[in-house]
Symmetry: C2
Subunit: 315 residues, 2 copies
Amino acid sequence: MTRVVALAGGVGGAKLADGLQAHLGADLAVVVNTGDDCWRHGLLVMPDHDTVLYNLAGIEQVEWGWGIEGDTHATMAQLGVYGEETWFGLGDRDLALHIVRTARLRAGDRLTDACLGAQRSLGIAARILPMSDDPVATEVRTADGWLEFQEYFVHQRQAPDVLELRFAGIEAATPTTEVRAALSEADAIVIAPSNPLVSVAPILDVPGVRDALAAARDGGVPVAAVSPIIGGRALKGPADRMLAALGHESSAIGVARLYAGLVDTFVLDTEDADAAPAVEALGLRPVVTDTIMRDDAGRARLAGEVLAAVAAHVR
Amino acid sequence: MTRVVALAGGVGGAKLADGLQAHLGADLAVVVNTGDDCWRHGLLVMPDHDTVLYNLAGIEQVEWGWGIEGDTHATMAQLGVYGEETWFGLGDRDLALHIVRTARLRAGDRLTDACLGAQRSLGIAARILPMSDDPVATEVRTADGWLEFQEYFVHQRQAPDVLELRFAGIEAATPTTEVRAALSEADAIVIAPSNPLVSVAPILDVPGVRDALAAARDGGVPVAAVSPIIGGRALKGPADRMLAALGHESSAIGVARLYAGLVDTFVLDTEDADAAPAVEALGLRPVVTDTIMRDDAGRARLAGEVLAAVAAHVR
């Protein structure tokens, strides 16, 4: 097995992608959610892409998992002086990426090319592929109405109850040539432990992506998913409350149900070992292991176990 | 006398404008050169406006005269990682202005409004008015051909001989409503000690500005200029070599000749006192004083002397 595609968004996904890169290098392609991309101060910010980017470059802010370790915030403070909203904090070194990527987009580059350029500059071996070059905007309905994702996620700190989700623009979005090629050439596909409703679902909902996964499975390509829910809770972010609020079960089995029919292998934490029979009953092969990635070694260990599990079933 | 308009560009002009503001507060309008504005990393940078801005806000980098005191350069260093040119250094706090102003322009704001907004945010009493909202690009011909002004000024450190100057776009540029109103309502007009060829000339060459100055003089409004050349040399920048290279005299009298017919009062340094009769012979009233502005007190002193000189002739 060589070529692996991971679908990812957020910190958990970035950690597993980093572990996979340690095993696969340039044979890894990470397809990232762009639904929570947003424009701040006239600059395009891509939280999921950049979280994966900084983790794969080994420069991520370790405590938060996103942003750049040791970054400063002088520009942001000064933006506040000019009356700009400052609740979406952007570090000085981080801003360079938003500036240069936005400049390249305005100069006519594709989003994917602007991202690949930054990845090369940071010396990343794997490729991180935006799910689409077309704009998709994840929106969250709360008691106050529809909110931009980052308004809900960062500004309101995920406090409001989520009543509904939508991905504006997704019907018109197409997967990029690079995403289609990566999926059709993959020897295995891994859905990372990211929020299934707002990180993974937008990727899957880009017209053509579910079909590409189904075609890969039909061709004998193993497809695995790693549960982002451990003991009923998300390690980070609102996935647990969001699942419950939207009528799912906030548990490994609740996630497994969302992926049934799409994946053949489901990796869940030892804490949820007793859910393995229920996973199996869904037609998925359960793999029970320690899914918490505490450090680089932990990332590589979990990635290695996921790869071993799918390798056992490779075409 | 209350309302004064200063024409300025560069560090010397910014210092005198700051001194004038100390006397006049909101009754000062500074019309600034936009010919050396440039786009860097997809952001509009306005060196002359911003030098005046930071000086009037009292936050200028004291040694250089431009940029913000104590600014850091984390974003710029990271832009270099992404392959961007870094010879045009922009500080982190400085970048906030370019980011927010560019965002407002892209949102449809006029350049003047975007600048006035930043001035209010920094608590500046005077108004700094771009000479035009239309793009004008100062270009310098050297042995290598035509260069963008900042390519010559910053990147090539003013080393090449200047063979010719042009202000691309100036025929189509119009002075803003604010500039026209300020000139027509002025009780006095002061040309600051800025480079006459690349800081003051673009302002004067915006169609309508020379006529507005002439109309003001015809209406009895005193117009003064302060020599940027002392003892044959510019305190800062290439004005002296540029004057000589383009067939002028690099001296106070050489500058006075450029302004003859346009101004009635010419302020020159005590070091050049012996040129006073020649200034008078040009039909200008010479005012001889210490024109070096070493500190805030020096700025206010020179500004006070200029104001006293023109007040003696106010309508």
